[in-house]
């Protein structure tokens, strides 16, 4: 366990020291702060414009960072062989993956917390009404991006190219939002091969729609526990797959 925590801590440290990562965060924070100016051009509910666009920007910027780091980190270490320096220490491959994923998920949490905190400050400054919904929105963004982490790491383990790993992770993020459309398409299509593929995707892709609190769910009664369990289950299953693949991978 100590080794897993050490790997997680170092992953966070690596991300924090990364200039590109910091540039993204800095730019994201700047854009979020700039939402203040949106109220000048909005016709009504100025603070709601800041609220909605702020949450969208948090998800967007943290998503970009998350895809890049998760789909790159393991692949880069495998390609550069720096992974040898870890795997020749008392660390199993499973521990390595667990540590990396844990570190990345904590990084996502910290990013959302920082950006969410800044946005909260702006909203308070603008005397906006802030309810528990705001916290829920941030938690659901965190859930969604935690799933992006494991999907990114999965592609990082499967793929041999950073570009394809990033592209596939991003595609899954998009398709995960269009999961019901995929199902509808599958029901309409008669070609059995395409139908089966769409059905398969509908079953295996993460359902990001149920995690889209900021856009859809705030008007619906949601079972927070059930959704949390869904996220946890998806994380565990993906982690098991990653570990199976990674244990077979030639490094």
């Amino acid at each position: 366990m100590k080794q897993i925590i050490a790997i997680a801590k170092f992953t966070i440290k690596e991300n924090i020291s990364n200039r590109l990562f910091n540039a993204f965060i800095g730019f994201g924070l700047f854009i979020i702060m700039s939402t203040v100016f949106l109220k000048e051009i909005s016709l009504y509910e100025e603070s709601k414009v800041i609220y909605d666009s702020g949450l969208f920007l948090i998800e967007f910027f943290v998503l970009l960072i998350t895809i890049f780091t998760s789909a790159t980190l393991v692949l880069k270490e495998t390609k550069e062989k720096s992974i040898y320096l870890v795997l020749t220490k008392p660390v199993t491959r499973n521990m390595y993956i667990l540590g990396k994923v844990l570190g990345l998920i904590v990084t996502v949490f910290l990013n959302i917390a920082i950006m969410g905190g800044i946005l909260y400050g702006i909203l308070v400054w603008q005397k906006a009404q802030i309810s528990l919904e705001y916290m829920y929105s941030l938690i659901f963004i965190f859930y969604k991006l935690s799933l992006v982490v494991v999907i990114g790491v999965l592609f990082s383990v499967i793929s041999d190219s950073v570009i394809t790993a990033n592209m596939f992770t991003f595609s899954i993020y998009i398709l995960g939002h269009a999961i019901y459309e995929l199902k509808m398409l599958a029901d309409k299509i008669e070609n059995i091969v395409v139908k089966s593929i769409l059905e398969f995707l509908y079953r295996i892709l993460p359902n990001f729609r149920v995690l889209n609190y900021k856009d859809y769910l705030k008007h619906i009664d949601i079972d927070f526990g059930k959704i949390s369990l869904y996220v946890l289950g998806y994380l565990i299953i993906t982690m098991v797959i990653i570990n199976i693949v990674f244990n077979r991978k030639k490094i």
């Binding site: 690596e14 020291s17 020749t88």
Partner: protein, 302 residues
């Protein structure tokens, strides 16, 4: 006398690599031999060097022993075990041939990380890191980012992490690469100090003079095959030759200016000198011929 146990036993090791170059594959070359039918033992406490040309399979052997590669056939026993457990890695140190480190991370953070992976106690960690930095001449650079380090400095970082856990078994793949003569001297001293402490060291290097000075036994590897393993000191003693400088030509002697030089083995030296005396041949000098590892390397490999 107690028998020295084998810390590593390699039997009929075979490793092949898939060729990924599409043109070579079209020509029918699907696999490349990494090592074939390699067998050897490494004794506890010795410095065992593997020498060979580039691509001879030295790194493949090291990685196979460390459990980083899957073998086609053969067996490897380390600490008398067929498969290394996680606990065994507490006793192992490894310096890879090429090691990349996260360049934006500070040296101290990197060392702390590796120490944590070895589960080294916090208080002792500080002491051992300081001690290693002192030996490696890395003191004062603790808070520098690795991107500011030269190739030689990074090599020292690699060595530092390899000895952090005071390993019982140490693998060094090209440890002198990129080091200046002073740093090389320092690394040699470190290797000898570790040997004194009882560390078994497997050494891959191109620098034959270092191998000659450090090794107890040397394995010659050529195109994935183990040509021979020798104890260089014993080999030198066993194959001791003398060069006798004389004033006239004898069979197979070499002329250099107006003197002649004749090579004679240690066993034949007395008879030869008696013979010279009988023939009234003048002897100018007798010198022991030093066989260098380089000579032997060229003889065995090329």
């Amino acid at each position: 006398m107690a028998q020295i146990r084998n810390i590593i036993e390699v039997r009929n090791l075979k490793k092949e690599y898939k060729i990924t170059d599409i043109f070579k594959r079209l020509k029918g070359d699907k696999k490349k031999v990494g090592v074939s039918d390699v067998s050897f033992d490494v004794k506890e406490g010795e410095i065992f060097s593997i020498i060979g040309l580039n691509g001879a399979g030295k790194t493949t052997i090291m990685k196979s022993i460390l459990g980083l590669l899957k073998l086609e056939s053969g067996t490897i026993r380390v600490f008398s075990k067929k498969k290394l457990s996680r606990k065994d890695y507490y006793k192992i140190g490894y310096l890879p041939e090429i090691s990349y480190y996260p360049k934006e991370v500070k040296l101290m953070d990197l060392m702390q990380y590796y120490a944590e992976l070895y589960n080294i106690d916090k208080v002792y960690r500080k002491k051992i890191i300081e001690e290693i930095f002192e030996i490696m001449d890395l003191k004062g650079r603790e808070n520098d980012r690795l991107e500011n380090f030269s190739k030689g400095m990074l090599q020292k970082v690699g060595l530092a992490q390899a000895v952090l856990n005071e390993p019982k078994l140490l693998f060094l793949d090209e440890p002198m690469s990129g080091l200046d003569p002073l740093a090389r001297r320092m690394v040699m001293d470190l290797i000898l100090r570790l040997k004194k402490k009882g560390t078994t060291i497997i050494l891959n290097t191109h620098i034959l003079s270092d191998v000659e000075k450090l090794s107890d036994r040397i394995a010659f590897l050529d195109k994935g095959e183990m040509k021979t393993i020798i104890d260089f000191n014993s080999y030198q003693k066993k194959n001791e030759n003398y060069v006798v400088e004389i004033d006239r030509y004898l069979d197979k002697s070499i002329k250099l200016q107006d003197r002649y030089f004749k090579k004679v083995s240690k066993d034949d030296l007395n008879d030869f000198l008696n013979d010279l005396n009988d023939k009234n041949i003048k002897i100018y000098s007798i010198e022991k011929e030093n066989i260098t590892l380089e000579q032997l390397f060229l003889e065995k490999i090329i």
